[in-house]
Subunit: 469 residues, 2 copies
């Protein structure tokens, strides 16, 4: 080794420790990079997900599998060696799907693949049979004359568009949430929508709908995309089309589930927490692999890697497996209420609830003084193919209540190109998850959680906190 | 127009008629090429398929849609202007699917997506609940000791492999056809197989199974691929796995359907026929778009183009829409029996029953004297990207009975890479068909049918005819 080279290495070494010291860090970037790269080559998250989807499967709020999932979460946290593991109660109303079927009765009798929307009322046992009235969008329905759908079944056919970031969901999903109310206002007996999804399989997409006080509650269901295509082709023939819809859906009793929480304790400020996690419930049609078993598994794995490392960060990593996200962020609201007094110790967080595709970008929502922390994340995210986006991150669904109270959040953006092929369908199963992409997610969450937990300054919210709520 | 140009055109004209005369043809290759290219840019086949799948939909043998499909076929042939249109009766036993469900009852209770195999008996109304015994292949089951499956449900998990020519089907499908008999021999109460299909969707694949006299009939069903994966993962945990299977399947009454036949009459030898077609029935789960609405539509369209052309070929183009192929080539056998005395006038034929993928190759089964006809096809197929394979063509399913009696056949090989993603599932719907690929199929069938119908020599069978049957 020549003199120049050793001098260079010595300088390099001192510059690293200087840099580390200048941030007041006890753990350097090399250590985090090693953890990150270890996670990249690990199947831990996939194994956790395999366990959840195999041993629990679908876990709709209030079902037997909801209870099993809570037990599974507690046992898995303990098995993984989390420092603290506990649950917190979450109470909610439940809904029972029952049987469901639909068919064209004339002019071209054919069965259709249909699924009830969450919290839809059922039809009479003999079904509802009526002529279909077609609207391309819910906006068209809303703009139509009073009474136009009287005695008919409204069909809304708008197709959701595919984008990497899932931005086609927002404009399309309004038909699911408000279709029944708007159809009922026009006198309809029921509403069927084209599934809010980007696939072409005979797997209809379920999801929540809402009624409004004072508006007659009518049954609401989604057709699979190929069935919606078929119905559109029939309607294009300009003859009256009659449809029969039979839904056994009904409300169930109150139920108490649990947010399941596991912690890896921080070294210096153990009361301060970085919150990561995913929601433990799923819809009932698939096994909740991408929505949101993946988020559960990858955040548990990320915290496990950090907890097991020889150097822990200053702050605590709290993993929350949120109860009943699907039917209205119920676990998230209960958590925010229970922990309101401790909000200041919820330093920042990120929820993974957009499948298991590779993360391609991250964004922050912090003040200027936290930018060195963001810069550190940038350097450590870069080798994962992750670019920094901006400082205007919004919250994952289950962080909304705490975000509204002022918590800082980060967003790790997954490639969701295929997410809405599977979302809320029977097709949401383990085979759709790429273990390598899932491992990349774990590595990214390690970077985010470790750097945030170890930052010199306390991380605080960047964008203004809106008043109200 | 200058002299040179008119001289050139005159020469061109005479050279064409010379070429045509040298093959004894009244219709030249240019004419066929023009028809072919017209078909390439036409949506006719797609429109026929759209009509069949929209206005009739699923058309399982013996159902109301079986009857509607026959009416549709007759009306469509007439609408397209075929010279002769008629039907011939086909009688068979029917089968009724009824309701169907399956679930894991322990150790990890979950619902499974299942479908009964064709002609399976049902379970008792309360279902059959028993421990699962797993065999990777039907060969493993057959090699297992007597009584090994006593009181259990046999699960066969072999996965079908994907190939362009569908060669993965043969080795896999034995579990569907013979699984119930072999499981019953070992004492099983029921058999469930992994779907014979290459997809990863929650759409199980149905298809025929067979019982054997003297062997106790047990219910037989297929799990979707993701469900079979799930069951395998559960079994890998080495705890007993219990499954509950409920099938409402049962035999129905005798039914008489029809082969639907349309002809474009030949100019010189009208009694001699080139037979093309597809089967009109389908399974009940999808709308039979690729199996075999595509074959029906594209052969009707090919004959329509030939019939409408200003020069007709010497021989007749007969399009047969075969009844009840799925449950045992019933229409094909009835046809062969009814037309046995006229077999010599069935010059050659090709059935399209492998979806709607592009044709990449064709093969013949003719004598040496017919090779100029094959050469002509080669020249006209080439611009469609279709290569000649060999002179050992086997028959499409519905030509088997006539092939066994000695008829010559051709095979136009479609790209079936995705065919077994859809085959016999709910996902067999119109959206899976590429209109451009379907039009290329029509063009290829025009080349085959026209050249064969117009050949100088009568086409006769190449490979030896086996004795028996």
């Amino acid at each position: 080794m020549n003199k120049m080279k050793s001098l260079f290495i010595a300088l390099l070494g001192s510059s690293i420790s200087l840099a580390a010291m200048s941030h007041g860090q006890t753990n350097d970037e090399k250590h985090i990079a090693a953890l990150r790269d270890k996670a990249l080559n690990s199947n831990l998250a996939y194994d956790i997900l395999e366990s959840l989807t195999t041993e629990v499967g679908p876990r709709m709020a209030g079902t037997i599998q909801d209870e099993l999932a809570v037990k599974w979460g507690v046992a898995k946290f303990k098995e993984l060696g989390f420092d603290k593991v506990w649950t917190e109660p979450v109470e909610y109303d439940t809904w029972v799907r029952g049987s469901e079927s639909a068919e064209i009765t004339s002019p071209y009798p054919q069965p259709l693949k249909v699924t009830a929307l969450g919290f839809s009322v059922g039809t009479p046992a003999s079904g509802i049979q009526a002529e279909v009235i077609h609207f391309k969008t819910i906006e068209d329905l809303m703009a139509a004359p009073e009474g136009i759908a009287k005695g008919k079944i409204v069909f809304i056919s708008r197709r959701m568009e595919r984008f990497r970031n899932g931005k086609g969901y927002g404009p399309a999903v309004k038909a699911r949430g408000a279709g029944a109310v708007e159809a009922s206002k026009k006198g309809a007996l029921a509403v069927v929508i084209r599934s809010i999804g980007t696939d072409s399989h005979r797997v209809p997409h379920t999801g929540m709908m809402r009624y409004k006080d004072g508006i007659n509650k009518i049954p609401a269901a989604a057709l699979s995309n190929p069935d919606a295509d078929l119905l559109e082709r029939m309607l294009a023939r300009k003859k009256p089309v009659s449809l029969k819809l039979s839904l056994g859906a009904h409300n169930g009793p109150k139920y108490t589930s649990q947010n399941v929480i596991g912690e890896m304790t921080g070294t210096t400020y153990p009361e301060q927490k970085i919150v990561i996690g995913g929601h433990l419930d799923s819809w009932d049609l698939g096994t909740g692999a991408v929505d949101d078993g993946a988020g559960v598994a990858l955040t548990m794995a990320a915290a496990k890697f950090i907890g097991d490392s020889k150097m822990r960060p200053k702050r605590t990593i709290r993993v929350v497996l949120w109860a009943n996200e699907e039917q209205g962020l119920v676990g998230a609201r209960a958590y925010a209420k229970a922990h309101q007094a401790d909000l200041a110790n919820h330093i920042t967080g990120a929820e993974s609830d957009f499948g298991a595709g590779r993360i391609y970008a991250f964004s922050s929502n912090v003040t200027e003084k936290n930018m060195p922390t963001v810069e550190k994340m940038k350097r450590l995210m870069k080798p994962l193919g992750i670019e920094y986006e901006n400082n205007k991150a919004g919250p994952g669904p289950d962080l909304i209540p705490m975000y509204q109270l002022g918590m800082s959040v980060f967003r790790l953006s997954q490639d969701g190109t295929d997410y809405f092929d599977l979302h809320h369908t029977g097709d949401d199963t383990l085979d759709k998850v790429d273990p390598k992409a899932l491992a990349q997610n774990v590595a990214a969450y390690i970077v985010f959680a470790y750097v945030a937990a170890d930052s010199k300054e306390t991380i605080t919210r960047g964008t203004p906190v809106k008043s109200g709520r």
